[in-house]
Assembly symmetry: C2
Amino acid sequence: MYALHPQLADETVPVCDLDLCRVLLSTDATYPWLVLSPRRESLRDLHDLNEEDGIATLEEIRRCSRALVDLFGPDKMNVAALGNQVPQLHIHIIARFTTDPAWPGPVWGKVPPAPYDEAEREALIARLRTALGQDG
Amino acid sequence: MYALHPQLADETVPVCDLDLCRVLLSTDATYPWLVLSPRRESLRDLHDLNEEDGIATLEEIRRCSRALVDLFGPDKMNVAALGNQVPQLHIHIIARFTTDPAWPGPVWGKVPPAPYDEAEREALIARLRTALGQDG
């Protein structure tokens, strides 16, 4: 049975469920940062996805990337499945700006996470749901 | 017309061409590290791939990941499309070990690149071609 890894649950808030993946918003407000978690058991690496789930994941990566592009107009999107700290497969989708504190490096470990204001975060989640066509 | 970005050409050596992507080996011997470059013009982000090319890229990511798993038996695979330094779409496929110098962080910028011994690198390229079914 699928269950979100506790560390991922700690570091994100849920946005919505797409066909395959749970969409999560990172609690680090430094970057517009989504995490996709395929709702399947015992996945570690991207190549553990079967062909059908791989195609669905790719499509959902695309939808999340476009939602962040539409909402934030970033300079670049970063997409990464690393999982060195949390062994459950998850895909980071991060909107990057040439003015962000980690540019042009990767975001991990660069600056301490900045918390969202709660109302701001809820407003962002609502906008993300709309951008993902999940506000019904 | 497709041409590999000069910085990518500098930091890698060619392994082979799969149906869509050029497979490159990073010149940094610290990690078993492949880079996939889709042979298409004017791509920046993963979501710029059309549906068919996206599926082909995913399949080629899978093949490269499995080749590194078969050859190196890593603890984890990292797959990432960042492109903050080189704007041409490219996908990193990196075999990670709990004993490697960047673990559990991402590899970028952690330790200075270590050069391959040339004979060792050529031998690895030959083994990679075989693992990718491209030694014909």
